[in-house]
Symmetry: C2
DNA sequence: CCAGTGGATGTTTACGTAAACATTGCCTAG
DNA sequence: CTAGGCAATGTTTACGTAAACATCCACTGG
């Protein structure tokens, strides 16, 4: 900086003013300084800057190895949104979702150049961890509940699940089976609860819950079981991957979708439009979740925020070809090639 | 730090020594300092640290919005591997893959707290950009060629494509059609070139190349065309998503896979094991790519490295049920339900 | 008994920046 | 014509750390 000042014939403070876009600098002087900066290839040293300003302009994101598409989309939106606010994003990967690993990530965080943290994680792993949070570091949590203890931004899981169930009921199905996510997942739990509540509210009897683990493989196994349930005409899968496996199993058993069984997913991953048949599903707006995480954490930083609360991002039903009116009893009536989209 | 020193009854320098694990501190003193650190909740200030040391212990990763699964896996591996070396990872998202955006990312980079950069990007967007790289910032590129100008780590695209084609030829197919990725992509180009070369080397005539854009939707459209090619008994899709769309199109046209047409993909995304039928594909080791990127950039930093070169990460053929011996002429011969896995 | 040695610890300083305060010089109002 | 004010710019200082150097002290060997 001193070199630039010398070359431009000004003081280093003036260089600082120019590089930060502060007022009170003649247009002439500004130009000269900029020229000198270019000539010397000057780059402000961000370490010194952070030291002086007391902030890093950086957000940390803690997440399990980018396993699910939802986390990835959210992360992407966080990065983009942070960049728009002049913030960088530092990744804090947690290899395996154990309490130890999470604690480790949080303690590393203390020495990390980060002003605030966004956690994409189930809440129950967070409790013991946050005690070691450096004071003044704000936290926003995505993919969780517990809005009373943290600021939470999440997809409206319950609303989406409700829409999925209602869609199938509206089509005329007596009831809807549910292929749930793993027990440990709050998202899975909330979707399952909303599924049960919606059925009950509509005066239907919820069938036994079928448990998967988010993977297509687990959906396949569940599908083999469901294929043997003669009463099953409609399945709400807790995510699109499991729906994919489900479709494969039903297909192998010679069941038509949606002719014999309607299937609806959750997430709306890009591939789901190309499943066999294209999957009706609940679209999640991960970009919005990420954006709100950044807004939330920045606003908390500004007002040293105390207020916690949950922001829900609405979902949207995307109707494709895997859902239709009930008709399993018609099985075998027609001889059209199976799985041809009804449309 | 001064407070800790006072509480522990030592000098700040001794605190520094303890916090950096330097030798020359009595076990007694160390314990006292550590106790004081805990009591005061001391965290070393990473800005001051970076300022003093002249390095940030941080790697920047520039990539287009985490669009493809490959990039994500690579990023994940980079983050993990960097953490093991005591480095953090900062994300530099590029919204749209235009030269302007890339230049912007690189110029922001100059002010960013980053010691080195890993670029996950097609090379041709890099050329004009790197001129603005701060001196001393090393670069490693994934997903590209141009090993003569940069250090490059990439999947062995050509080797994988060759294995895919050979697998189908070995099964007895006369030739192999190719559903390629978009023209702008070097990965797509190299896979297509290797496909053509392998066929030529085997004395076969390469059929006309079919172009997609990586999406399942484009694979579907291509599939509708290929279904009308009576000579087509084997297709090598340049990625699994396009293979997915391809499978759907063939299915709609009543063609069995692999009975009538064999399909092989590239990438081995997790879902491909649950396609209809499960997809034979070329597995990419993104974790290894990411790891090598980190190793490469760190070693370049240590030796102020000049040497460029390309490191290729081998692929692996994953045989599932979408490939088999040729048999399109047998169409209609049997009445078994289509798409049941042959095994 | 003393010089010499080496380990443990303290003191000084500089890293690059920006806030706070100081100075300069020009313009305007009285 | 001059005091006062304000815009432009310069000077000083501190941010928290760690390298370099300085000091202290206990112990060893002659």
């Amino acid at each position: 900086m001193a070199d630039v000042a010398r070359l431009a014939g000004v003081s280093s403070q003036t260089v600082s003013r120019v590089s930060n876009g502060f007022p009170g600098v003649t247009e002439d002087t500004r130009r000269q300084v900029l020229a000198a900066m270019r000539e010397l290839g000057y780059r402000p040293n961000s370490a010194a800057r952070a030291l002086k300003r007391g902030e890093f302009r950086t957000l940390g994101v803690i997440t399990f190895s980018l396993s699910t598409m939802g986390n990835i989309r959210t992360l992407e939106a966080i990065a983009t949104s942070a960049a728009q606010h002049g913030y960088a994003v530092t990744l804090l990967p947690v290899a395996v979702p154990t309490q130890d690993e999470v604690n480790g990530a949080f303690s590393r965080l203390g020495e990390l150049a980060v002003d605030a943290v966004i956690v994409i994680m189930e809440i129950h792993l967070l409790d013991a961890a946050t005690v070691s949070l450096p004071p003044g570091v704000q936290v926003v949590v995505a993919d969780s509940d517990a809005g009373d203890r943290y600021t939470v931004v999440d997809t409206d899981q319950a609303g989406g699940a409700r829409d999925a169930v209602r869609h199938l009921l509206d089509l005329g199905h007596d009831t809807v089976w549910h292929l749930a996510g793993p027990e440990g997942s709050f998202a899975a739990q909330r979707r399952a609860n909303a599924w049960r509540d919606t059925l009950t509210a509509a005066g239907r009897v919820p069938p036994p819950l079928v448990r998967g683990d988010w993977s297509a493989e687990s959906g396949y196994r569940a599908g083999l079981r469901l294929a043997d349930e003669p009463d099953c005409t409609a399945v709400f899968a807790a995510n699109d991957q499991m729906a994919l496996g489900l479709l494969r199993a039903l297909h192998e058993r010679g069941l038509r979708v949606p002719g014999d069984i309607s299937v609806i997913g959750f997430d709306d991953i890009p591939e789901s439009a190309s499943f066999l048949p294209p999957l009706t599903t609940i679209h999640q707006d991960f970009a919005e979740v990420g954006r709100l995480c950044v807004e939330g954490v920045l606003s908390k930083m500004r007002q040293d925020g105390e207020g916690h609360g949950t922001t829900l991002v609405p979902t949207r039903l995307v109707r494709r070809e895997s859902t239709g009116v009930p008709g399993r009893d018609r099985r075998g009536e027609e001889s059209r090639p199976p799985f041809l989209p009804d449309a």
